[in-house]
Symmetry: C2
Subunit: 664 residues, 2 copies
């Protein structure tokens, strides 16, 4: 019977071997955290390797994602579909073992991590989703949502401010099912952390309202067991277990930053093997160790027990059980098509002039009523970003009720939490802040795009139309930053109807989406039914002429009004003018060549794009012979109309540019 240390050493050796073979990777953390991993994964972690999608499994977040080989070793050893061949292919093209854990690539990986601090922040979202789902679905004697969120993190994760944001919320919300094991090894890439991380982490986490345990010896399995038991016992507070460990444990580079991010090298590996007393050649795990690690039987039993409980639940509450299945599968309800049709038609029927942030609120009124999985919120701007609807109820942490969360002034933490909620399943999160502050959340949006989670960001106050708040609050380069993020969709609707369609697609498309919405009131545009349908193509002809146009005006959002005014004037002068509204350029780009040629005929080279944002994105559509009316500098503080005038966002300026182009 192998010792627990030997079981942990299996992780160490597999990690070393894979990193050596790849000539690339981070051995320090897997070697340091192997005992923590053994304590958690063999004794407390509730999962079924045969079904990584089991709804009530515990969730695991490796926040220090560079320790990926730790996780891959665990998945391999406990019996996930991750054979030794994949371990041998660590960091190779098309392997299931990429350099950092990637959601959707590796069975058992609950979230992509790598950018430090975001894993632990998203874990807060997962733990919140679990409690909200529990309160929505559990019934007396029928506890079907009953799992924990476990997170490993390192010093770097706790230096990053985003973890401060999310962990402060976790404490305030009392998320007792969240347990973080902090690998406190005192070393980061630049060396001994005392020069840049002198703070008292335990005191900081207590200040957030967490239970803090330790420091415990992170290489002593009994201490770890006791700490984990203590953590589980307190369900009122999230827990931080501070585990003192040695980076690169057992290797000659122990306690040195040099083992953080490079292979140990042949000699150091041999020395480590000798220190562990490990006799096997690379990539060989002795049968007795393999047997002790194998979690398939225990996992199958755990899930079977849950399945039985769920069957009882289903008998007692058939509707709830069906709803639970639907939500966890991410299926939209049967009435979805009608809901969104009603939503769009009501916008058409009303024909209102409205700020698109308010149009968004009207759309959300339909959606929140129809989709109990919608979980809204804002970064302390609820009234301004219009995310609260008449069907919204403010989140109450004590009761775990409500569907609209005040995240405080924490755009980045909020966005990580959205990712965690979406990854947990059972919810479609959305939340709002000002477009300028999408900057703060940018890397979380990027992870949302990489993982293709279903979450919606509501970014209002989307241009110089903000007016008096001035340049720090007026986005300029944010649109292009979001549009060029692969897999992210940015919608910038021009009126109530486009806003409704944007929401429809944001929810239906399945991946992440951002909405760019105006602070100021915008016109309403009449459309034929076919034009309404065309909105979903991302770009379409809103106003046109007979025959082939001489000039095409392309615009989005608030600037469509300028294009339309110019169209009216120029058409009156006898020019053949087309207005293209392009609420989602990424979706337009994905259309057929036929559609793109129909909207923007290749031969028509007189083109003007108008958007109160960086012009550089639009050259793609107007070419070397076109013009862009955009913002090449930061905005200014003044009433919105005056700012628009100052920067040339007037119909007369568009007309002037058009005349100039038409004269060529």
């Amino acid at each position: 019977m192998p010792t627990r240390r030997q079981l942990a050493d299996a992780i160490r050796v597999l990690s070393m071997d894979a990193i050596e073979k790849a000539h690339s990777g981070h051995p320090g953390a897997p070697l340091g955290m192997a005992d923590m991993a053994e304590a958690l994964w063999r004794h407390a972690f509730r999962h079924n390797p045969a079904n990584p999608a089991w709804a009530d499994r515990d969730r695991f977040v490796l926040s220090n994602g560079h320790a990926s080989m730790l996780l891959y070793s665990l998945l391999h050893l406990t019996g996930y579909d991750l054979p030794m061949e994949e371990i041998r292919n660590f960091r190779q093209l098309a392997s299931r073992t990429p350099g950092h854990p990637e959601y959707g690539v590796t069975p058992g990986v609950d979230i992509s991590t790598g950018p430090l601090g975001q894993g632990i922040s998203s874990a807060v979202g997962m733990a919140l989703a679990e409690r909200l789902l529990a309160s929505a679905f559990n019934r007396p004697g029928h506890i079907i949502v009953d799992h924990r969120t476990w997170c490993f993190c390192g010093d770097g994760c706790l230096m990053e401010g985003v973890s401060s944001e999310a962990c402060s919320l976790a404490g305030t919300w009392g998320l007792g099912r969240l347990i973080v094991l902090y690998d406190s090894n005192g070393i980061s890439i630049d060396g001994d952390v005392s020069g840049w991380f002198g703070e008292d982490v335990a005191a900081r986490y207590r200040a957030y309202g967490w239970q803090v345990i330790g420091p415990v010896d992170g290489h002593d399995c009994d201490s770890l067991d006791r700490a984990i038991a203590e953590a589980k016992a307190d369900e009122k507070h999230p827990t931080l277990i501070i585990c003192r460990t040695h980076i690169g444990y057992g290797s000659p580079k122990t306690d040195s930053a040099s083992c953080h991010g490079s292979p140990l090298g042949e000699d150091a590996c041999a020395a480590a093997r000798a220190a562990y007393g490990w006799k096997e050649p690379p990539f060989v795990v002795p049968e007795d160790i393999r047997k002790e690690w194998d979690a398939r039987e225990k996992g199958a039993e755990a899930e079977a027990a849950w399945n039985n409980a769920f069957a009882e639940y289903e008998k007692a509450y058939p509707d709830l059980a069906a709803e639970f299945r639907r939500r966890m599968a991410g299926r939209l309800p049967d009435g979805w098509a009608k809901t969104v049709e009603d939503m769009v038609q009501s916008a058409i029927a009303a024909g209102e002039k409205l700020a698109t942030r308010k149009a968004s609120q009207k759309a959300l009124d339909y959606l929140v009523a129809a989709l109990p999985e919608l979980l809204g919120g804002s970064a302390d701007l609820t009234g301004s970003v219009c995310t609260l609807t008449s069907h919204s109820e403010r989140f109450n942490a004590a009761e775990m009720t409500g569907n609209h969360i005040s995240y405080g002034v924490r755009e980045f933490g909020m966005s990580c939490i959205l990712n965690g909620i979406a990854l947990h399943g059972g919810f479609i999160p959305y939340a709002g802040t000002f477009m300028s502050f999408s900057d703060q959340a940018k890397n979380a949006l990027r992870l949302a795009a990489i993982m293709q989670v279903r979450a919606v960001w509501v970014f209002t106050h989307d241009s110089i139309g903000v007016g008096e708040d001035g340049p720090t609050h007026q986005p300029v380069e944010q649109f292009v930053a979001l549009r060029t993020m692969p897999g992210m969709k940015l919608w910038r609707p021009c009126d109530t109807v486009e806003t409704a369609v944007a929401w429809k697609r944001a929810i239906s498309d399945g991946g992440p989406a951002c909405l760019a919405l105006s602070r100021q009131t915008l016109p309403y545009y009449s459309r034929a039914a076919a034009q309404v349908a065309d909105i979903e193509k991302g770009g379409y002809v809103l106003r046109d002429c007979e025959a082939v146009p001489e000039i095409i005006l392309i615009a989005t959002g608030s600037e469509v009004a300028l294009a339309e005014a110019a169209w009216a004037k120029l058409s009156g002068e006898g020019y053949r003018v087309r207005v293209v509204s392009m609420p989602c350029a990424e979706i337009f780009d994905a259309q057929s060549d036929v559609w793109k040629e129909h909207v923007l005929p290749h031969g028509v080279r007189r083109r003007i794009a108008i958007e109160a944002a960086s012009p550089d994105y639009w050259w793609k559509y107007v070419g070397l012979d076109g013009r862009v009316i955009g913002m090449s500098m930061f905005g200014a503080s003044a009433p919105a109309g005056e700012v628009a005038e100052k920067f040339g966002f007037t119909a007369s300026h568009v007309i002037e540019e058009a005349h100039r182009l038409l004269a060529q």
Copy 2:
């Protein structure tokens, strides 16, 4: 003789009046913080209204920038060049009183604020700069650097994670000259903060190593005086004074979020005036109150005393005094032209194939030796980003020595600190992290661009060339996000020579700059002397043909190698091919039309841009008839060569595309 409360009320009334007149603004905070402002600005703050550029003045940071009218009232009342007409023009076009404080617009505004959390974070940089400058220039009996950094902040600033990052560093570094007065009014936009900010802020700041004073009554001037005296007395720890206040103090909307961001309205203003016992009409300040506020005489005396001390210093240490003047004026040293010429020529002479991150280190070796004001650092990636030179000394907080700082894993906090250092004066800060993590710092980069501070960001690992670390570590959309940021310059050099020139310009140009540098080794390109000079034009002809080219290949950084290889092959086939290297597109755009036409003749429409990043930026230069070889999706984890192959970054793919275009 007016009471101190009446003096504070002058701020309240001016703020209300200006906001009413503008029909826009944030009255809650100025009304709530007026007593804090009176206590600090009339009793402890050391400044001279006649000279906002006095080197040894105290610095003031209004981190909750929406309280701008508080600051404008203070500047007006104490005697800065901010007449009542400007107060009346609050939030109007071209006024000196924009919606949020803007550095460079208003005399006495030391930093632009508005995005919460960044002001306090930059204040850490200012306080650090003060201590480093003190240790560099003060001499026994000659203390010429001897001031404090004061900061006001609100709940929102302390919710934002960036302040956690910077304040943790301030504690670790022991910045005792930093004093923050925290306006703890318990209200943020969504209401009572207890639902989203339940943490124990005092305990958190103690955990960072700060002195925490209070809570004190933020409306009691004696308590405030005592707290400020206590704060000043401890020079070993930064201080947080927790001031319990009432938002909208004295108005009928006291303690309500409704007074945060909208004018109070006529009735509420009248009621507040009555509550204050304020008899004057709008924009009138009684003479006795004006007199008490006027700080010009005291300020002139303070500066005169310092000038005398500096004159003594100058006698004792003429060279040091001259150097101090030079550095505070931001003037580069006399030998600068020779230094950069040597730097560029040495790169040419060596002709090395080198990763541009290593080329950057070689350039920095020249610069750090020549410029004592260079203050380097990295976000825990010092070895990887190559910011440490042979002339660098690691920062020692106890001694306040060194010129290279380990900021820990805190990209955003680090960047705010860079802004603060640059704004303080006496230093040119630079710091590095991976290009992917420029995301985390984005809004601080934006503020750097808005303020045009001189600071340089070194972003290495700039593409899929990162290889095994995978998509989270491989930038794609970051270049376009930085290039489209007005006033920011992104350099992406292709070899050692372009890297040296990039550094030259980054330092000389005066504003902020980013360098995008490769992890992997890049070729060296031979150039004529004129071509070396042309690098400074941002885009230039690196390889050419006889007569007018049939096709132009535009590339940056690592992809210039592909363009050159394609040029060699296609030229051999008899095609007329040009290679344009475009290390800084923003600078190229600013060149004369003649230069732009010379490099990219309008008539040559066969153009291919090649960059391992989002393609969308490049349509600007290739037009509707060109091609872009870019990254339309996220990267992958594998050895760099295989990733490049997978995504088409090979010479053969460029040649293939060129053939296709040439056949048209």
